[in-house]
Amino acid sequence: MSLTVARVEPSIAGVGDYIELMKPRVMSLVVFTALVGLLVAPGHVHPVIGMTALLCIAVGAGAAGALNMSYDADIDALMTRTAARPIPRGRVTAGEAAGFGMTLAAFSVVTLGLLVNWVAGLLLGFTILFYVVVYTMWLKRSTPQNIVIGGAAGALPPIIGWAAATGTVAIEPVLLFLIIFFWTPPHFWALSLYRTEDYARAGVPMLPVVAGDRETRRHILIYTLLLAPLGVTPWLLGYAGPTYGLAAAAVGGVMIVLALRVRAERSGHVASRQMFAFSILYLFLLFAMLLVDRMSGLVFGHLAL
């Protein structure tokens, strides 16, 4: 008696391939924004609980990255920017990545829920589900508004951080959510301006592919004009001090200048590359300033007592 089975070559994937599946660069921004959400929240969080929450959020972000790469392996292989990812390169199969992602997702959500609190746990679960199902499976290949709506997933970590510290959600972390939400479109559209051929080849309906360069540059400016004042609102609403307000206004001003240059650019992509690079720095500086503002408030408040 004999059985017929498909031959599967034993894996040669190394640890680095699995780390790559977790999109470490995206993860670092997620962890940083979640850390800010956690530290600006009122009250005291025990460092062990705080670190556990951040670890779970990091693993959850990694899970979302692995599931995204598993589903998008076909289009990743067609784009220069993503062709070297572990699945298109043949190091990991799409099934292995899916199993890896689902295991990490389940572990991170349940661990965050049980060890920290269930508001944070459920928010993390919702974020992973939103990124994988709503953005990756549904919106990414069907509408140029993919990164606008899908950006909500990347904007949720400060709310999860806040929820990990307080067990609730308040206006302040929602403001941080809105800042990242309005930051995402100009950030990705600036990138897509000089990767249009990549997206077109893969059939991803990014704005420059569907509506053209000119319309994309106009959209970048509109969203940046909304983003810059939004970045200042934590100060305007009294959640941060004037140092933060001034810094936010300054970097917001730079973003507007860059968006105007992107709008004015007729050929080449110098301005859009600068916009893409500075937008990462913008978000980092904004959240870092918020953290410094909060920490200095705590230190000086403590000294004044």
Binding site: M1, P10, V15, V48, L55
Partner: protein, 70 residues
Amino acid sequence: MTTVSDPVDDFTKRLMGDLPPQRGVKLTEQQLRARRARSIAIALALGAFVIVIFLVTIVRLGGNVLTRPM
């Protein structure tokens, strides 16, 4: 696609001495190295998970960690 023999059949034959003792997939040096690295990473991750659970349990229990019925 490839045809392989039934493992139960093989087991019986091996017991009867009809088959050589070693069969199956032979891993290459590279595959062995990769598997070993993955196994170590999984072990470290599980170890870290145990430590996290332990630390959070101690933190959650606080001073009550020493309170137990005699």
